[in-house]
Assembly symmetry: C3
Homo-oligomer: 681 residues x 3
């Protein structure tokens, strides 16, 4: 699979535009405002199915023709939606199979979006047909910069057609029922399948007792894989229909960051460019947002991505939709660029006047005025991006630290019953990522198929599900000189969520030199302590789970502080080849994780981007044809100063020279293009 | 539509009596106790459908004949239920369409009450047939004082028959699908309807994600209107059946105060007298209860109402069913009268021995004794009411302050997604009502169709949905000298929940002289402050939502105290004609609302009923043929004293003369008939 | 019904073994570890239906033959499951009626366990057929020590077949619809049934609004009885099939302690020996666990029982699955024996590698090693049990105090709406039990059919539902010299949950000499006080419900401390015959209950097993052919000392002589075989 070249020579700025909700005079106002704000790329036609195909045998492209002509006439370009993200009413009525059956077993009817059954013959016939019609009609039109298939794929269906497709999928995966029953340990509770047709989709009418409760983990895990594949299959049908008309079309769809149901690693090869929608909650830390950008960047091995949606002001679907404070929209936009974004886009240009997103912020609010805080901030950012031009386009974000992130591990560890209901994959991985990131290390996220050779440190937690070959790969990494950290609940189960013979850490046991005798689980609020030793020092709180490690061949670098396992090992290290394999048996607090991760980096000779990073500041680096850029972001409401000995360069936003020190206003951003001699990694 | 004259010459006292649950000897005990307690009106036959019609073609009125004869023989009168409030088992079995489909799309089966589908052909045939039979049988019988159709209408149905009726209703409302799609902004998410039969009832199988979550607000709002109308239609079928036999029958049904699903304003013209059931929770403030009485009184423009049900002792369906403390039942009964009740009724005469209300209090508890606290309190009240006679009957409660209350606004603002999930219509309106009421102002509740001419002040909050003509009406009110307050989120959307062009406050923008640039939403617990200025003084907490007002033509009377909008306006006033239009952009605390509402009244020259009202006291006034009565209620457990300079009159409960001062025991009540010179308003 | 003799001459030790999940070499490892740990009884074949019957017409016992042969060859014995606890996939597919319809009315499909509809013709055909095949095949094999039918019966079904069977069950219970309608007070809300076929199972599609909310208590209560009977009926079909082949087979199933849905008292006669699974949550007090053992022991009048399952280390289905601390598994095992267990069994021998119990602890963890804390503790216990031999087998636990425990009362009081949602039967009964138990009294649990003659004290709370004859029985008990305590909400309703004429305490009114005028309910956190008097002293907090007692013929021993009923009676005593009848009208705190219960015992001349029991210690006594044993258990993590003047004997665990004092290490256990002179009761 080849990836098409990025169709822009300047970082595009824009977002969703829904002219179908407005009269023609409003269109004209809008294009003027686009010019005013430096907006040059519009996502259109995202939810237009009924408009384009008002009946089974009727297509009508009149309005879309006009929309594209208007954009073209102003020198604007389109990210053209295929419009298939919500099923038309006529289709739901005439072909009820197109609607999903939910996790409670209920057949849904017309209404809402993200509601197509991916195995519905109706959907699989009509959706690519529409995409093909669009491609045929607009082939060769430069106004169409790229294609945006459907919208925010997600959810799941449990209908009879999905169930049938699941059986076929399983037969391809396992070949025989004997293999399937073994994988699922189906002898347990007599869950043995004796004919393929006996397999039932895992919802509340069969094995599920809720989203995180199942009687048969292997079945549920396979359905999660299957449904991710099924939605990908639906996406690919549309891609194929477009490609048939426009072989070199640039095609994508908008992903959703740390979205659990879809294994985006499996999706990535089928997108020409990764695009994603960033909607942080007011509670999210900057590091949590950074992790999502990093994850999206990692999907195609570090290739830059598009920030396809963000709100300019506020959301509507959080419980309490606070405004982004002055400067924060700009700051978060530059944060995306800092982590590899080559586009900055909003949802949406103009607030809709009715239905469920009418309180979602927009560049143009309901009042339709431009003499406002939000519009001014958008226009300022537009001007800055125009000034930046192509400087950062295509630039990479070199990193020598990698944190493990894997969808099947996420699914499996949260499907399990026990040892604790308080276990959340994302929380633990985010804590680990934050420990590196908050100290100024450039970090990537990697998974089972990643090339580990660029990294000095590979750190993991909840590496619960260990795919075939992963242990060998990690062993080679260590023996080649890498520092590897295995955290809590590592090496527990194989790809079918079967516990490895001999128990955790399974195939990592030899590498780590320890095994896990027991795992204690205590309620939130009950803590133990980790007493560092062997070169590390300090005592730090730990919570959640407490593994009892039995050391066979490793140094002890930390011991429990209390309870009946006081003094027993919780952090160990084994030297292997040129590298080291570390094992941590609990959930350590932030300060402890910072100490631990810095020690790993020191052992690996990995240095942070800056020697000392004050709290609330973030640094990243992008290197490309346009130079090497140090991004410094101030996530606090106070002025900040950062010393970077040896740094010389020019701030590309204000043109000022920088020499060793960067000062930032509240929520400020500095982008320093390094002088030729100043690049580091 | 004409309203029949009130069929009583003395304020009736009584309640629900269910002889069908008891043997004949108990009936005789009961009627003796009625006499003992001064009870003279009994609601009977409320849940008697199966007894009256044990099979499709069989009616049996034997027992009801006996019940009425017994009442008649004792000089008691009946509020005669039509008995249709619960579907008989035989009907549910033979005609399953009579049972509802719920918000989860589940077809219900026999069991419980309030379970009839209002569009079921079966129900619409059998219910009025029974009502007609009853009317035919008991026409001309003086023992039947009034008719009580069904019971506590409520809930909703989502069955295919309702769906079909909804399509007809929509076609009548909109005429064309184009109009409907525009009203619902259906281009959003491709929700466009291309044929009437594609319209789906909004439940969890279509657009609802729960009671307050919908994908299409316009659809959901219309279904709320439709279902209120559908239940009203079912009520009217029974009314018509009775009227056909007894043209001058006095007919009503028991409403439920601030009951969200039914737009009682649309119901009111079809009831001869408003009747309602008051079941405050132990957490309700006296003002919250007062608001409900006021709302019920407002339904027919101030006409007195019946307190149709209350518990003499305790409820059973609250989480914790505390006893009403000694004196509280009496106090709450007089509170109802103080606000316009011309009847005081209980649920129920005798505790049932089984099924789900067996722990609901009654005049006669399970022990069946009269030497009890509860019975004594009931009998004391009965004696007081007898002594009062007809004095207050028909008396009005003059008020010069009105607070806006509108069901469609309530529905719409709580259907919306964003800006905050913490927004509750009733809480905000109650806070505003309480600010006036707690200072001794007589208050009415008004809506879009109300005559505003009696009022000096009209205050609103969450006037979110502004019906056609409302802005003109309010403008005329102001220009004619009125004080108008528009609170938080005013003038946002039209009757279809489409945001007005130009944004909030929509058609009120000219009148108020401000527009809303943005609305911030913060989690509960995060506050800002309002710094009063321009004649008002003090600083008060505000919470929930924080509108950024842009002033075009208004004085600023308050500014935010902190955050990035510190110093920007939050309270404004524009003088227009003889009056003033005030705008408040946040949810102000109780003390702040008191200051603000007093300022409005002062500007309008509206005076409270008493100069200074101590906390925990309540005052109202009723004026009628029997005189002008000042009601003073002590909601505290301490003795209280109230000074009312110039008040002279006689306490009608104890016959004592009053001159300028009223003292009240704990939970005490004083009703002062003013001397001819003492009346004020 | 006769009970078969206990088939063991030494207290058996073992648990669930699932060789079907493992390869043959693992079987051989396992049997060696059994020997190493002193394990001699294995529960096998519990979930083997699909394996034994892979298709409708095919049985295959090959593997089970091998399993039993292997056990036999090692001198081990089997508790042989009939394997019917989970429906095979082929059966669910071919005969969908075998799967349940749930409380939401949803037909379930294949998956999980405990999923058979007890009235399914398919299930009722296939399950006993399999049991019969097993019995025929293994009749006369000594390796089969006892039969274990299905597993942990529970849950409920609401399918049309259950509904039909329910109608038959009701017709047998009531004879006529008139009787049924009277029992359910069906005139309320017109719930009257006019034909048997109109009766609907009580789920969310009919009268239920959730598990504890019903419109018709009588209907729901009868369905609870019916479903308990229906599951018992399914059990009995299998028992009969086994008996047909092996008339003297010892047959049981594993119960679940205080499991609400099944009335184990009705089940007990059909089990040859009571067996139960003990899975305390980390929050359970030792007394709460003791209550469950006591309840299980009480089911067959004090006959010893089997502890059929417990975890050696941790569970998986609690929210937070803490490890049992060192010594706690042993302590809880001996606690079971102390209360009458004649077997100590685990779930499970080896942790399963997949599916939903893979994190449930086992004797052999996933690592498969024996050099572990858990295995060592198991093996130590195995050795101790071997040393104990038959000494305690069959020994009884004499008690002179009884606490009332009755499933229908539990159901009924929690089905009710009001007076408080905070009312939990188990919490109140446990508090009462704990008051006796924590002072060292030997306690039994009794119900309506129990022989009360052994007891000096019978104490109750929430004796809400009073079966026919219970009042007479309790009156006779008192008149014969017993002390009877009626607690909160006693004597409220009859067996159909109809309130007794005259109200609470119904038929107990004469015995107690008081009646209940009102019951106040306050939210959790609001308290009153009980001021003891008349020989008792002190003031103690009370909560939840506050009955207003009216005394007709009783002494007042306690009065309320505050609120409008301050000073009014809350604790009374009436002397009747040789005994006394006490009445308590609230939920008293732990210290108050201790004072009250000690007073009752003192009046009855009942002495505790030891004069003064320190907090955290537990004592019980078992007397049998092997002697009289005093069990002393230390539930604290500190060393403890207990003085028992006059106690002389030998600790059977360590062989040391005991003379007046017992010292215990943390979590320690002492079992003192009394010298011939030392026995007390």
């Amino acid at each position: 699979m080849t990836t098409r070249p990025y169709p822009f020579t300047k970082l595009p700025f824009g977002g969703d535009w829904n002219p179908e909700q407005w009269e023609r005079p409003v269109w004209n106002e809008d294009v003027q405002l686009f010019e005013h704000a430096g907006i040059d790329l519009l996502s259109v036609n995202i939810f237009a199915w009924t408009a384009l195909q008002p009946a089974e045998d009727t297509y009508d492209f009149t309005r879309l023709d006009e929309v594209l002509a208007l954009l073209e006439s102003r020198g604007l370009r389109a990210c053209l939606g295929t419009g298939t993200a919500a099923i038309p009413a006529w289709m739901a009525t005439a072909f009820p199979d197109v609607m999903r059956v939910d996790e409670q077993g209920r057949q849904h009817r017309f209404g809402g979006r993200h509601n197509a059954c991916p195995n519905s013959p109706t959907y699989r016939r009509f959706a690519p047909a529409l995409a093909g019609q669009l491609a045929k009609r607009y082939a060769g039109r430069d106004v169409v910069a790229l294609w945006h298939v459907s919208n925010e794929y997600g959810g799941a269906c449990y209908c009879p057609r999905c169930e049938g497709a699941f059986r076929v999928w399983l037969r391809e995966r396992y070949g025989t029922l004997e293999a399937l029953n073994h994988a699922w340990n189906a002898a347990f509770w007599s869950q043995t399948i004796t004919a393929w047709d006996e397999i039932i989709a895992p919802n509340e009418l069969s094995v599920q007792g809720g989203e995180r409760t199942t009687a048969v983990q292997g079945l549920t895990l396979d359905y999660q894989r299957f449904m991710s594949d099924a939605l990908l299959g639906a996406y690919r049908l549309e891609v194929d229909a477009i490609r048939a008309e426009i072989p070199d079309a640039v095609i994508t769809t908008n992903l959703m960051g740390t979205y659990r149901p879809l294994d985006y690693r499996a999706w990535a090869p089928h997108l020409d460019v990764i695009a994603w929608d960033s909607y942080p909650s007011p509670q999210d830390t900057p590091a949590a947002i950074a992790l999502r950008h990093t994850l999206m960047r990692s999907l195609k091995g570090g290739q830059p991505f598009m920030l396809m949606e963000q709100t300019p002001s506020q959301q509507n679907w959080q419980a309490y939709n606070a405004l982004k404070r002055p400067g924060v929209m700009r700051l978060q936009s530059w944060q995306a660029v800092a982590h590899g974004a080559d586009a900055v886009m909003f949802f949406q240009m103009r607030r809709s006047v009715g239905a469920c997103e009418k309180f979602h912020g927009a560049v143009m609010e309901h009042h339709g005025r431009t003499d406002t805080r939000v519009f001014r901030e958008v226009a300022q950012l537009g001007a800055e991006l125009k000034a930046l031009g192509s400087a950062t386009l295509g630039a990479r974000t070199p990193a020598r630290v990698a944190v493990w992130f894997d969808w099947p591990a996420w699914w499996a560890v949260e499907n399990s019953s026990g040892p604790t209901a308080a276990l959340h994959y994302l929380r633990e991985v985010t804590a680990l990522y934050t420990a590196f990131h908050s100290q100024g290390y450039a970090v990537d996220l990697v998974g089972p198929d990643s090339d580990l050779s660029p990294y000095g440190v590979v750190a993991s937690t909840l590496l619960y599900l260990l795919p075939t070959g992963a242990a060998e790969k990690l062993t080679a990494f260590v023996e080649g000189g890498g520092m590897f950290l295995a955290g809590l609940m590592s090496g527990v189960a194989d790809e079918s969520d079967r516990v490895f013979p001999g128990g955790p850490p399974g195939p990592l046991k030899e590498l780590l030199g320890v095994w896990v005798e027991e795992v204690d689980a205590l309620p939130p609020g009950e803590t133990n302590g980790v007493v560092f030793q062997g070169g590390l020092s300090g005592t730090h709180d730990c919570t959640l789970l407490f593994e009892q490690l039995r050391v066979e061949d490793a140094e002890v670098l930390g011991a429990y502080a209390q309870d009946f396992y006081a003094g027993s090992p919780v952090l160990t290290r084994r030297r292997a080849g040129e590298g080291q394999a570390w094992k941590l048996g609990t959930s350590l607090d932030a300060a402890g994780l910072r100490t631990l991760t810095r020690a790993l980096c020191d052992e690996a000779g990995v240095r942070p981007l800056v020697p000392e990073l004050p709290a609330g500041l973030e640094v990243t680096q992008r290197d490309g044809d346009g130079g090497s850029f140090l991004f410094v972001l101030n996530h606090t409401a106070q002025e900040q100063r950062l010393d970077v000995p040896g740094l010389t360069g020019t701030d590309v936003l204000n043109g000022e020279a920088v020499d060793g020190t960067v000062t930032l206003p509240p929520h400020g951003v500095r982008i320093v293009r390094r002088d030729a001699a100043g690049a580091t990694a």
